[in-house]
């Protein structure tokens, strides 16, 4: 408000520069605020942020729990005189992307009959889910439906709802990241369904049966992982049903 009076009293050029400087200052402040907030929120697992860019992931601090360190202290001392670039861990390790674990989790999803190891899901890894969501959007695009926004919205709401339900139903709680990770991995059969929708039309009896089968497959693997991770006995069907509802929504999007 004060610079408005200045505008009247000063020449046009000087008030213009003052406004400009203040504008730059406020922009700089916003940058700092955003920057200081970005790091902690980058560490905290996000609910269903399937389509956020990997740049945010890279700003996470390196936790070092994914892989064994690929460099031993010997090489470190050997390289200590060239500090900085050579001492940094490899890019994938720093990003937290571990292809071996991703492949293992994918295999767990693809074979719901095999009993799951509950400890795999301890790391909240959102890379695989993001790839699967983008693949789902891409295959839907191939079928002529631009539904990226719907996929994103439904997965976000589904993650929030699933997180709330699991926290209400189980004794131990879960975090958003774990729920998002599990639900995202179990989306893989849905990608297969929408891929087949490109080739054949899913609106007949065969399509309905295929969609039901895929929904059952997705929810069975998701509930298997959830029950083994949360130790909820006698409730697997109860967990499978909400998962089936969520994947049924995706199937509706794919079929119709």
């Amino acid at each position: 408000m004060s610079n408005f009076e200045q505008f009247h009293s000063d020449f046009y050029q000087s008030s213009y520069t003052i406004d400009n400087q203040e504008g730059y200052n406020s922009y700089g402040c916003n940058e700092n605020l955003c920057g200081s907030r970005k790091n902690p929120t980058g560490e905290r697992p996000r609910a269903g942020a399937f389509v956020t860019s990997e740049i945010l992931l890279s700003s996470q601090s390196y936790t070092g729990q994914i892989l064994q360190p690929t460099y031993s202290p010997d090489t470190l001392s050997h390289l200590s005189y060239t500090n900085g670039f050579d001492e940094e861990p490899p890019l994938l390790e720093e990003l937290g992307i571990n292809f071996d674990h991703i492949w293992q989790k994918t295999l767990t999803v693809l074979n719901p009959m095999k009993p799951a190891d509950g400890s795999i899901m301890n790391e909240t890894d959102l890379t695989g889910p993001m790839v699967f969501c983008l693949a789902l959007g891409a295959t839907l695009l191939l079928a002529g439906k631009v539904h990226f926004g719907y996929v994103y919205g439904m997965s976000a709401i589904g993650c929030l709802a699933m997180h709330a339900l699991l926290n209400l139903m189980s004794v131990t709680g879960v975090s958003h990241g774990c729920v998002a990770s599990v639900l995202g991995y179990c989306l893989l059969p849905m990608v297969i369904l929408s891929g087949s929708a490109v080739v054949i039309s899913l609106q007949g009896i065969l399509g309905t049966l295929l969609a039901l089968f895929v929904v059952g497959w997705c929810s069975l693997s998701a509930s298997k992982i959830f029950t083994s991770a949360l130790a909820m006995e006698g409730q697997q069907l109860l967990i499978a049903y909400p998962c089936a509802l969520l994947y049924g929504l995706f199937a509706l999007l794919t079929v119709f």
Binding site: E43, H147, M169, Q235, L237, L245
Partner: protein
């Protein structure tokens, strides 16, 4: 800083939504859900409608099939939205927006119904231990009948829809009348020790209210599903 934010969110959530009480309504297991669903579709053979209590607090739904829960109503609501989407899809009227439309309109009707029941309970000045969450649970049970009706309508056409919906309307009516009564009359039985004649008129009013609420359920069931079956 993120953990501070999360603490603030948790504290405020606890103030708005009683998480501990909600956990009671979700303490279910598969056997309970199966029995309750059977009860909702066929309540005629069930004899004992009393809710079991344990030191003045109702027993968790896991152990007593008469206790209300929130798992079935919530799941039934979402299933209803899904089946509505399926029905629209088979008639080529589907778009992802219509799913949101169905969901919001059904939610709006649910809120209207719960508010109407709360208002009528307030006007009749009846003291019950029916909480709002109980009312939401009871209003949500009719979605099970709606889903069964819709599915049979999709499979067997209009006649199937009407037959099954009629059956579900009758069962939900019977279920409401008998289950609601046990909760309501709990208060009444304590007061009955002091004097039954004084409470006679109020008792009748309560019966009428229960009947009215139970009769409104089939109306809602028909209203929310008929436009999906063409």
């Amino acid at each position: 800083m993120a953990s501070q934010g999360r603490d603030i969110v948790d504290r405020n959530i606890d103030r708005l939504v009683p998480v501990g009480r909600l956990k009671y309504y979700f303490a279910v297991d598969t056997v309970y859900v199966g029995r309750k669903l059977g009860l909702l579709v066929f309540p005629f053979m069930h004899q004992d409608w009393q809710v079991r209590y344990q030191q003045d607090a109702p027993v968790a739904p896991r152990f007593d099939v008469n206790a209300p829960d929130l798992y079935i109503p919530v799941m039934a609501f979402i299933t209803y939205v899904l089946v509505a989407g399926l029905a629209l899809g088979t008639q080529n009227r589907f778009s992802p927006d219509s799913l949101g439309l169905q969901a919001s309109s059904a939610l709006a009707w649910l809120i209207v119904e719960v508010l109407a029941i709360l208002l009528s309970l307030y006007l009749v000045t009846v003291n019950t231990d029916l909480t709002t969450i109980d009312l939401i649970a009871f209003s949500g049970y009719k979605y099970v009948g709606m889903i069964v009706g819709l599915v049979s309508g999709l499979l067997f056409g209009k006649t199937g829809y009407y037959v099954v919906l009629g059956w579900c309307c009758i069962s939900i009516f019977v279920f409401m009348v008998r289950d609601r009564q046990t909760l309501r009359l709990k208060i009444l039985s304590e007061a009955a020790a002091e004097g039954v004649l004084v409470r006679g008129a109020k008792n009748q009013l309560r019966m009428y209210l229960t009947m009215a609420i139970a009769a409104v359920q089939p109306l809602f069931m028909y209203w929310l599903t008929y436009h999906l079956i063409r």
